[in-house]
Amino acid sequence: MPPTNDAAELLPGTLDLLILKAISLGPLHGYGILLRIEQITGDALAIEQGALYPALYRLQRQRLVATEWSTSENNRRAKYYRLTTAGRKRLREETEWWERLVAAMGSALRAKPEEV
């Protein structure tokens, strides 16, 4: 879907995290990852779909994901991505970091004048 004004711009690094999260539930091919991200973010994050692939190759080079060619649900050859142990570890760390950040930002932004 084309980017819309109310879709958030991606922060650097977030795409990698989203990919890791998407395949943490099981191996997916590139298009599947895209669908999963759209699904879990509720279309709130807009990216050009092509941007997925440089990120996937980068993660592959960092050995955070592993790949294998397999047959897709509609019987076509597709490249599947799955998490490696290092990838799983990275996902855990990044998730914790994000949760801390979000909590901190959230409480900072919710702060009322008398609390400052």
Binding site: Y31, E48, G50
Partner: protein, 879 residues
């Protein structure tokens, strides 16, 4: 092949993966009821630029670096091929810069670092022992030589290394071709130690090198065997006369053996035969006289430190019997020709200056090529902009620019390596042959030189490549895409980098040129300098009296006879004797003066000379007080001395020294009475020591030389002298040279320095001018439209020319000013070679500065004129 396959598979996989994505998306859209056309359009739009992402994926993949490098290399090669003039100019510039640098390194490497041409040079060590402290000690050659008993002791005691002895001597041979032979005096183990094998016969046995004078045996070098003995198989056992002593040939060394010293020997003989090489000067019998160079083969499992530790102790112990008050200092260095500690120390500053100079040329070449790359890159801005807009990362572009620079660098470096061979040989050609005749310095590049050159070339290309590359990829590229480059000009503040590079080139060129100018002026000054004595119209005749086994008395009679015979000849203004070769060799010792109260002073350094009667008259040295030496002084061996003015002033102030005493020898050898004071004469050596000088009547007639002052007509004189010598002793060899030759010899280092500096300076000038030419040409080509408009509007062409050239010269003038300041600093570094020319000599500075401006102006005028000659309409249409 494998990489290509991998690459193809990678591309195929990537295409398939992306196609799968798009197809799946299209299918989804079709399922939602879109028409096929809409579905495809929508999917593509959502995906974004396929090519852009492919490019990014390629960058992100594994092995990207290797594949990209191959691709960049191909690309760089093609792009250089497309612009052959640029490529050639850049490569030649780098080659010149690298050549002078590698040439210098090749020379230094050959002299002081290159392993010796012997078997297993890795474990060969030079051992240098110097001594300090009380008691008398002399050395013949370098201060690091040891005496016979010292060597025998150290060799017998050392457990860390096998020590061998080597010394050099020149001998006259009565053999087939006759003439002078260079001999290496060696211990029995030297030849086996360096891996020599007898091609015929044998080498020396330990017994034959034990007792002085006992074994007159000879081993021939392969070359001598062939040249002097025609390669005769029965040469072993033959007897030849060396310095009138019969020697028996026992063997011939194999062709690969050329000895461990820089000069190749013709023959080897036991070092115990030393006495026949220097008559009346039995070094071998004097335990306090060092004449043997130590060469060592380190034993397996021993470190240099352990070797040094042991040899220090042994060296100290070896001094105990005869020099108990002296301390030994031992240095162990990897075997090389001329790595004496003294040379390394004294030579380091000279080398540093030379290295600075060649580095400047390299830097200049760098600036030059950087500027060309920048100009070329600016011309390629559209191409760059397009590549960036289709998704090539700036990092990739930067890498590609650097790859191109590296290709230029490596090609230039390769060419430079070839040129450096020529440069090093050229420098050697300037060295007088008497200094290095028959040397075996190896100037060919070995892997170290090649590695060094490659490293320098690559480092250089990083330097000249990254500056323009960074600038080019940093720029905002939008205007380039719009083909809007008319507002690019050298005049504006838009491209200060180009101007800065021109300024840097001007500065470096001036530093080189000014210092070259100073050296040339210094050389000129040295030639004209009043040295306080004759520098022309004197012949110097030397004889091989030592080798012909003359006694002192016989030598005296011969020299006196020759003098009396030649003195009345036509055109002779005076004849005298000396033992030192004027301006070439000198004698030094430590003397005392005796006070009016009879108390001797501390010893101090003096220069000395032993001379004949009427020496000062012959050599035109002014006698200020007292008298010249007389025949009577020389005949009686009178204990008289003449001192120079420097001596008089330093030791006696305003008091008249005539009649006072000076003590030159040991304290029990008596004193000499000063009978005259003469004008101070100057040495021509680069390191002038300004020692006070004492002359005494000649005693060492064996080393005596005739000095003949003449009126310029030498031919008759030379043949008369030769005839006279042949009459007296037909075996005697006389060599006659002019004092002018000696002056040239003494000035050779300065001449070489001046020639090298001038060559570097000119090279710099050519590089800088070609750089400026390129920049101005580029600038006017960018401004053709502007120039065309101006001309069309009726601007005066002369004014336009002035404007373009003026703008081109502005950075030259700025850089030149900086260069003059730096050159003043450089001048101070080479002051020793300037012979009193001021390091900030105004004439040199002005002339050089003007020369640079003139050369730069002509470099700028040519492209400017070309531009102005163009039809304005053509220029306007060009856009």
């Amino acid at each position: 092949m494998w990489r290509l396959f991998r690459r193809q598979r990678f591309e195929r996989d990537m295409d398939e993966e992306l196609a799968f994505h798009l197809q799946s998306r299209i299918d989804d859209h079709l399922r939602r009821g879109l028409s096929r056309t809409d579905a495809e359009r929508r999917a593509r739009l959502e995906f974004g630029g396929v090519d852009k992402y492919k490019e990014q994926v390629r960058d992100a993949r594994p092995f990207a670096l290797v594949d990209d490098l191959a691709r960049d290399l191909t690309y760089a090669w093609r792009s250089l091929r497309r612009t052959p003039v640029f490529a050639t100019t850049a490569i030649v510039a780098i080659a010149l810069g690298v050549a002078v640098n590698a040439g210098l390194v090749t020379l230094v490497y050959a002299l002081v670092l290159r392993p010796l041409p012997v078997k297993d040079p890795g474990t060969i060590r030079n051992v240098f022992m110097s001594t300090r402290g009380g008691g008398s000690r002399g050395t013949y050659g370098t201060p690091y030589f040891v005496s016979f008993p010292e060597f025998v002791f150290m060799r017998s005691q050392s457990r860390t290394a096998e020590l061998a002895a080597v010394a050099e001597a020149s001998l006259s041979c009565t053999c087939a071709a006759g003439g002078q032979l260079r001999a290496q005096l060696v211990s029995d183990n030297l030849l086996p130690l360096i891996g020599a094998r007898p091609a015929l016969g044998r080498f020396f046995t330990p017994d034959e090198t034990k007792t002085p004078g006992s074994a007159p045996l000879l081993v021939l070098s392969w070359t001598t065997w062939h040249q002097q003995f025609g390669g005769a198989q029965d040469v072993v056992g033959r007897t030849v006369l060396l310095n009138r002593t019969p020697f028996t040939i026992v063997g011939v060394a194999d062709a690969d053996t050329t000895g461990p010293l820089v000069l190749k020997p013709d023959v080897w003989m036991p070092y115990t035969m030393q006495a026949i090489t220097r008559q009346g000067d039995m070094l071998i019998d004097t335990p306090t006289f060092g004449w043997i160079q130590l060469l060592a083969r380190r034993r397996p499992g021993v470190s240099d430190a352990a070797m040094r530790a042991e040899l220090s102790v042994l060296g100290q112990q070896s001094l105990l019997p005869h020099n108990p008050d002296r301390t030994a200092t031992v240095t162990v260095s990897p075997g090389a020709f001329l790595n004496y500690p003294m040379i390394m120390q004294d030579g380091a500053p000279v080398m540093a200056i030379a290295f600075l100079a060649v580095s400047l040329v390299l830097l200049l070449a760098c600036a030059n090529v950087a500027n060309m790359l920048l100009a070329r890159g600016l011309g390629r801005r559209r191409e760059i902009a397009i590549r960036v807009s289709i998704g090539a990362g700036r990092a990739r572009l930067f890498r590609q620019f650097l790859t191109e620079s590296a290709v230029i660098g490596v090609l230039g470096g390769g060419l430079g390596l070839l040129l450096s061979q020529g440069a090093a040989r050229l420098v050697f050609a300037l060295v007088p042959t008497t200094m290095m005749g028959g040397h075996q310095l190896d100037l060919s590049p070995d892997w170290r030189i090649v590695a060094y050159t490659l490293a320098v070339s690559l480092a250089t290309s990083l330097l000249f490549g990254s500056v323009p590359a960074l600038r080019l990829i940093r720029r905002d590229l939008t205007p380039a895409l719009k083909a809007e480059h008319r507002n690019w000009s050298l005049s504006g503040r838009r491209i200060p980098l180009q101007s800065m590079l021109v300024a840097a080139q001007a500065a470096i060129t001036l530093v080189l040129l000014v210092n070259a100018g100073l050296l040339v002026r210094g050389f000129d000054r040295a030639l004209r300098m009043d040295l306080g004595q004759s520098v022309r119209n004197v012949l110097i005749a030397s004889f091989n009296l030592q080798q012909e086994q003359y006694t002192t008395e016989r030598a005296r009679r011969l020299l006196m006879d020759l003098r009396d015979g030649i003195a009345p000849a036509a055109g002779v203004a005076g004849v005298s004797l000396t033992v030192t070769d004027p301006f070439v060799s000198s004698c030094g010792m430590r003397a005392r003066t005796i006070g009016a109260d009879g108390q001797p002073s501390e010893r101090f350094e003096i220069a000395c000379d032993q001379v004949g009667a009427a020496f000062f008259k012959t050599m035109q040295v002014a006698v200020l007080r007292g008298r010249d030496f007389t025949d009577d002084d020389v005949r009686r061996g009178a204990r008289v001395a003449v001192v120079d003015e420097r001596f008089a002033r330093a030791r006696f102030g305003d008091v008249d020294p005539v009649g006072r005493l000076v003590r030159l020898g040991r304290d029990d050898e008596g004193d000499d009475e000063i009978v005259g004071v003469v004008m101070t004469t100057s040495e021509l050596t680069v390191v002038r020591r300004n020692r006070p000088k004492v002359y005494t009547p000649i005693r060492g007639f064996i080393g005596g030389k005739l000095l003949i002052a003449h009126d310029g007509r030498t031919d008759a004189l030379v043949s008369a002298l030769r005839m006279r010598v042949a009459e007296v002793d037909s075996n005697l060899t006389v060599s006659i040279k002019s004092i002018e030759q000696n002056v040239r010899f003494a000035l050779a280092p300065i001449r070489i320095a001046a020639a090298a500096a001038a060559a570097l300076g000119l090279m710099g000038l050519v590089l800088a001018c070609s750089g400026l030419y390129g920049v101005v040409a580029f600038s006017v080509s960018r401004r053709l439209r502007e120039i065309g408009i101006r001309v069309a509007l009726g601007a005066n062409r002369t004014d336009l020319l002035r404007m373009i050239v003026g703008q081109g010269l502005r950075p030259v003038a700025a850089g030149g000013a900086i260069g003059l300041l730096l050159a003043a600093g450089g001048g101070h570094l080479i002051r020793a070679m300037l012979f009193g020319v001021s390091p900030i000599d105004p004439m040199t500075f002005t002339a050089t500065g003007l020369a640079l401006l003139a050369a730069a102006a002509s470099a700028a005028i040519v492209p400017a004129l070309t531009a102005l000659r163009l039809d304005p309409m053509v220029a306007l249409r060009d856009e």
